[in-house]
């Protein structure tokens, strides 16, 4: 997979993950072009399109479009599966996820994606394992948080 984009029906980018090195300018250009192309498609149209020398696989969940770019020999259906799997993961993590969850916790959305895909390849096919890793990392984060907060608080109290 070359990259993954999440954007809203209004064309606002909500998440981007690039697995190929590109300049910011190029990324912006691609994003703009793809968002336009995908949004222009009618709802009853199929989820695949050929774009430059890539294949674009996208799917709409509520108000969010999930859009992946894959190479010529890649399997479109498994890419759809990856998108769906990611949505399921988000759903499990946030508890019936909505666009706002991703907007306000965008870093979490990235953490989940990074546990699921690495360098554009699926690294963990078990949902349970992905969620477990995220939970444990979060736990570690909270320990850190409480430590960092507790110390100044204590001083402040004195």
């Amino acid at each position: 997979m070359q990259f993954m984009l999440l954007f809203s029906r209004q064309g606002k980018l909500r998440l981007q993950k690039w697995y190929v090195p590109l300049s910011d300018k190029e990324k912006k250009k691609i994003t703009r072009e793809l968002v336009q192309t995908v949004l222009a498609r009618k709802p009853k149209m199929c989820s695949f399109l050929e774009w430059r020398d890539l294949k674009i696989v996208y799917k709409r969940y509520a108000s969010l479009y999930f859009c992946c770019a894959i190479e010529d020999q890649d399997n479109e259906l498994i890419t759809l599966e990856i998108i769906h799997r990611y949505v399921e993961l988000l759903d499990k993590y946030f508890g019936s996820v909505c666009e706002l969850d991703i907007i306000f916790n965008f870093e979490k959305a990235y953490f989940i994606l990074d546990e699921f895909l690495l360098g554009g390849e699926a690294q963990e096919t078990s949902k349970k394992n992905v969620l477990k890793a995220i939970e444990q990392a979060d736990l570690l984060q909270e320990v850190n948080y409480s430590l960092s907060l507790s110390l100044p608080h204590a001083v402040f109290m004195v």
Binding site: L13, M45, C46, E107, D114
Partner: protein
């Protein structure tokens, strides 16, 4: 210390966190940019603080802003600071920010190596995990080299969580630092049998990706993968393995045979569509690569086609689409199997999804045979009527146009009516194509001419119905064909009078010039037919009426702004007036008028000329005149001026060029052109390189007899160079001979001892090259070859040549090619004058006014315009910046755009290839007025004659004399400077001693020569 911490945390209470930022942005929809710029100021303040929590918060916010498209590269160092925090919370944010914002050009990346290494070996697996994840996004070749060993160690980590990440990231490392592949490969292979399924699947992933790039190295793993394929139940892994086999089979057909069985088993058993699809695709690929030697594969194909049928019949659009896509792959090798599902594919034409309809059309395109043609055409015609969506309709018409053309008369009749029907539809872009097909069919197939003419006459008669928006959609091109067919084959017309009338309607004047021209010409043909008809019926009244009609209508065309139309119209008008006079005297004129257009036009195959045998006794390569025996007649050896070398007279022999050699040269030239950035593929261009020319006779020599004087007298047409290679070579030979006859050459300037006419030579001006060096494209245009894909770069100036004229004028020919789909008009060419070089503008124009390009460009058309520059000093190269502005007219809008370019006037382009003979050359050098300079080129390993040919061609020199590996060369500038070279070669080293009466010109010419050889 404590106080500082307290202060930090108090500040923090007033800081915005990410949520506040997001909320803020959502609340400031009107002035988002302003709000964000204040936020960025705040973030800059926060980053200045020592508190890492504050910094991390700031970096987190920056990551969000980066996604919104703001530049945050200035904070790269702060990101590194947050990455190095010992706390996981911050480290995680730091690495996230880095993976989103860093790219290969980020210079702080090199500061991170040690930090990443530390994190990779952290006892906490999540620290390691975060570092690996981040690294996968921003790994650079340097990082890959420095960290390859650390990551390799991690592949054997005790925790599968780390192992699988390490295995996956190795792929990125291999890409960036290929040397790491060899040492890491044994371990990677080991991971294929890792007890953890996640690690195993990661290893399969990596090897599959590697094998896709270079399958050969992974053939040895086939047995192992075969085992995995039969044992694994994980569909993700299976898909990857099957894909891997797909990459391997073309190299090892036996593997393919072995694969068919397990793959067909999987196709039968699996319920996962993604796996089924992958299997079907791989089976198709395997069968294509086997193609022969597989007796029993029809069963497998049948199975695939059956399964695909199920996919296509599915209500899920995605499966339908993929099914059709895979079908089209089968079609290439097994068309019969696909044809039996024609019904299903025709059904898909009714699908509500345009992309599916396009796929189905694509398939039909390949399925048409004589038998099913009529049925498919009928179905397609129904669709043309109701088709919605422009791409689809264009595709549809394209299919009808190109594919359905078959050879039986009946079909052609149908074909013509299809073409005619197609023209009735608005919005097609294929006007050109339809027109050329109509012409093609009408010219080639006598039997259908009558039918075609009748149809075309109808079209002409109804032209006004279409004219509304015809101009825009390109359908008017069809009228070009219609007018020509009706004129040429007018004997088939039922009512030529009416058609004639239709062709002379005032509305015609709104058509593009080239079509009007055809109208006028063919009106004359029709006129001849009508006259004959009337005279045959002795109806002189009617004949005179027809003449009167022409006399009335033609003046409209005489006033046309288009030269061609004007010229033809006025010519024909006078003719008709004369005929009218004769008619009034009751003279029969029809025979004579018809004689004007007598003779049948026969189609000639493009290669026909080649098949004409050369008459016996004609030797195309033989001299027509006796070659002058120049060197022998010279009684005195020229003195060696550059070096004290013994000079011998030896004329390079003329080498016969055989067919093979020609082909080889042509190939080499194509290669050369392909690598030349100034070339647009397969466009005719003047830039030719004679790498393989065997001797000096292939050095381009000025062409005299072809020159067509333009407004500036004595200027040769630059498209001389556009002639075919052979043709050109023939002519050169002839010219060379002419030149050699004028043995006693005159030279300008200082060696003025000779007598023959300088004036005649003055006019010989070779086409010189002034190449565009850099083209600054519009912002959204891609450089070089990708141009043709980019619709935003409608224009490409691809070749500029300069013709030099009488010492101060340079004529630059610019070829404009419209590579876009839009119509370009109102082009204005402007150049920023320098003190030395000025674009000559018409009187009354200001010094910054642009020149109007005297033509418009329909899509795909190219044309050439010439611009005259006056140049004062020619001793320095010059670059002039210029701009072309133009209006892009597309179907529903027009925009004003511009294209920047640079004109490069090299010193070489001021030189004229001027032959010079040894005695004159020696005298010139002896005169002692010349300054000398020299140049050494190392590592030039081309044959000496190639080297000379190159200097001659690229730098407009001529060889005066050549002795073994030493040659003297001469050229003259447009202002009469002499440039003399002595070129010697030994052991890949070329030394050039040069003399010229203008040292800086010489220096620049030498620099340019050096440049030429550094490029090869």
């Amino acid at each position: 210390m404590a106080l500082k911490i307290v202060k930090g945390s108090i500040d923090r209470m007033f800081d915005k966190n990410l949520q506040d930022l997001v909320r803020g942005i959502r609340n400031h929809k009107e002035d988002e940019a302003k709000y964000i710029s204040t936020c960025i100021d705040e973030i800059k303040q926060e980053l200045k603080q020592d508190n890492i929590a504050v910094k991390a918060n700031a970096v987190c916010k920056l990551t969000y802003l980066q996604m919104l498209g703001y530049d945050v590269s200035w904070a790269a160092f702060n990101i590194v600071e947050v990455m190095s925090s010992s706390k996981f919370t911050y480290k995680r944010i730091g690495y996230l920010a880095a993976s989103q914002c860093f790219h290969e050009g980020t210079d702080v990346i090199m500061l991170t190596t040690n930090q990443i290494r530390k994190d990779l070996s952290s006892p906490n697996q999540y620290d390691t995990g975060v570092a690996l994840t981040g690294l996968s996004c921003f790994v650079t070749p340097d990082l890959a080299r420095d960290l390859a060993n650390d990551i390799m160690t991690l592949m054997s980590h005790t925790k599968p969580y780390i192992r699988k990440k390490a295995v996956l990231i190795m792929y990125k490392v291999f890409l960036k630092y290929p040397e790491s592949l060899r040492p890491a490969f044994p371990r990677l292979k080991e991971k294929l049998e890792d007890p953890d399924p996640g690690v195993q699947s990661a290893a399969v992933n990596v090897i599959c990706e590697l094998a896709r790039r270079n399958p050969k190295n992974y053939l040895s793993l086939a047995p192992l993968f075969f085992k995995l394929m039969t044992s694994s139940t994980n569909n993700w892994v299976l898909i990857k393995i099957i894909k891997l086999f797909g990459a391997l089979t073309p190299l090892e057909p036996r593997l393919g045979k072995k694969l068919i069985e397990p793959l067909t088993n999987l196709i039968h058993s699996t319920s996962a569509m993604s796996l089924l699809y992958e299997c079907v695709n791989t089976v198709i690929a395997v069968l294509i690569s086997l193609s022969s030697g597989m007796p029993n594969h029809s069963a497998s194909i049948q199975l695939c086609v059956q399964k695909l049928r199920i996919l296509i019949e599915d209500s899920d659009q995605n499966l339908k689409y993929l099914g059709l896509l895979a079908m089209s792959k089968i079609l290439k090798t097994h068309p019969k199997s696909v044809q039996s599902h024609k019904d299903l594919i025709l059904q898909c034409l009714d699908d509500k999804d345009e992309s599916i309809r396009l796929r189905a059309l694509d398939l039909l395109y390949g399925m048409v045979s004589k038998k099913n043609l009529m049925e498919i055409v009928k179905k397609l015609m129904l669709h043309v009527d109701k088709a919605e969506g422009t791409t689809y309709r264009d595709e549809l018409q394209h299919t009808c146009n190109t594919k359905l053309c078959n050879c039986s008369t009946l079909i052609l009749l149908r074909y013509i009516s299809i073409l005619v029907e197609l023209t009735r539809l608005e919005g097609t872009r294929h006007g050109h194509l339809i027109a050329s097909q109509m012409l093609d069919v009408a010219i080639r197939v006598k039997a259908i001419r009558a039918f075609a003419v009748a149809q075309m006459a109808m079209l002409l008669d109804n032209a006004h119905l279409l004219t509304g928006n015809m101009q825009r959609n390109g359908i008017c091109e069809v009228l070009y064909a219609a007018a020509w067919i009706c004129g040429e084959f007018s004997e088939h017309l039922e009512d030529p009078n009416q058609t004639l009338e239709a062709m002379l309607r005032p509305k015609v004047a709104t058509l593009p010039g080239h079509i009007q021209a055809v109208y006028v010409q063919n009106a004359a043909k029709l006129f001849a037919t009508v006259l004959r008809k009337h005279e045959g019926a002795t109806d002189s009244q009617a004949a005179q009426e027809t003449s009167q009609l022409l006399v009335e209508r033609l003046p409209l065309f005489v006033q046309s702004a288009n030269l061609e139309v004007q010229e033809r119209a006025s010519c024909i008008l006078q003719l008709v007036k004369y005929i009218q006079k004769l008619q009034q005297k009751d003279v029969e004129v029809a025979e004579e008028v018809s004689a004007l257009f007598a003779g049948e036009l026969n189609p000639v195959a493009p290669k026909a000329q080649k098949k004409v045998p050369v008459p016996e006794g004609l030797d195309l390569d033989a001299w027509i005149n006796e070659p002058p025996s120049e060197s022998e007649s010279e009684d005195e050896k020229p003195k060696a001026v550059f070096a004290k070398e013994e000079t011998k007279h030896s004329r390079p022999r003329h080498t016969e060029v055989d067919e093979k050699e020609l082909a080889r040269r042509r190939e080499a030239r194509k290669q050369e052109q392909a690598n030349n950035p100034f070339y647009i593929k397969s466009s005719p261009s003047s830039q030719k390189v004679y790498q393989d020319a065997p001797g000096v006779e292939h050095i381009p020599v000025v062409q005299i007899d072809l020159s067509v004087p333009l407004k500036v007298p004595g200027m040769p047409m630059s498209d001389q160079y556009l002639k075919l290679e052979e043709e050109r070579r023939q002519k050169e030979k002839a010219e060379k001979k002419k030149k050699e006859k004028k043995k006693k050459r005159e030279k300008h300037g200082k060696g003025k001892k000779h007598d023959s006419g300088p004036e005649s030579e003055e006019d010989i001006t070779p086409a010189h090259h002034v190449d565009i060096v850099t083209e600054e494209m519009p912002e959204n245009a891609l450089p070089s070859d990708d141009d043709d894909k980019d619709p935003n770069d409608p224009h490409k100036v691809y070749d500029i040549q300069g013709n030099l004229q009488d010492g101060s004028q340079v004529v630059v020919s610019v070829i404009f090619e419209n590579k876009s789909d839009s119509f370009l008009k109102s082009m204005e060419f402007n150049v920023l004058d320098s003190l030395n070089s000025k674009l000559q503008r018409p009187e009354g124009a200001g010094p910054h006014d642009g020149l109007v390009v005297p033509f418009q460009l329909p899509p795909g058309v190219s044309n050439e315009a010439r611009f005259i520059f006056s140049v004062q000093s020619i001793v320095m190269p010059q670059k002039l910046k210029g701009t072309l502005t133009f209006i892009v007219k597309s179907e529903d809008s027009s925009t004003h755009e511009k294209l920047d370019f640079k004109l490069h006037f090299t010193c070489t382009s001021y030189l004229i290839t001027t032959p010079c003979y040894s005695d004159a050359y020696a005298k010139l050098l002896e005169s002692g007025d010349l300054k000398s300079s020299s140049l050494r080129l190392e590592g030039v390993n081309m044959p000496f004659h190639h080297l000379l040919a190159r200097i001659c061609f690229h730098h407009h020199f001529s060889v005066v004399e050549r002795i073994d590996s030493c040659a003297s060369m001469y050229s003259r500038s447009i202002q009469g400077h002499h440039v003399c070279l002595l070129v010697k070669t030994a052991d890949q080293t070329v030394s050039i001693d040069a003399k010229c009466d203008e040292p800086s010109l010489l220096g620049n010419v030498l620099d340019e020569i050096k440049q030429t050889f550094s490029q090869c």
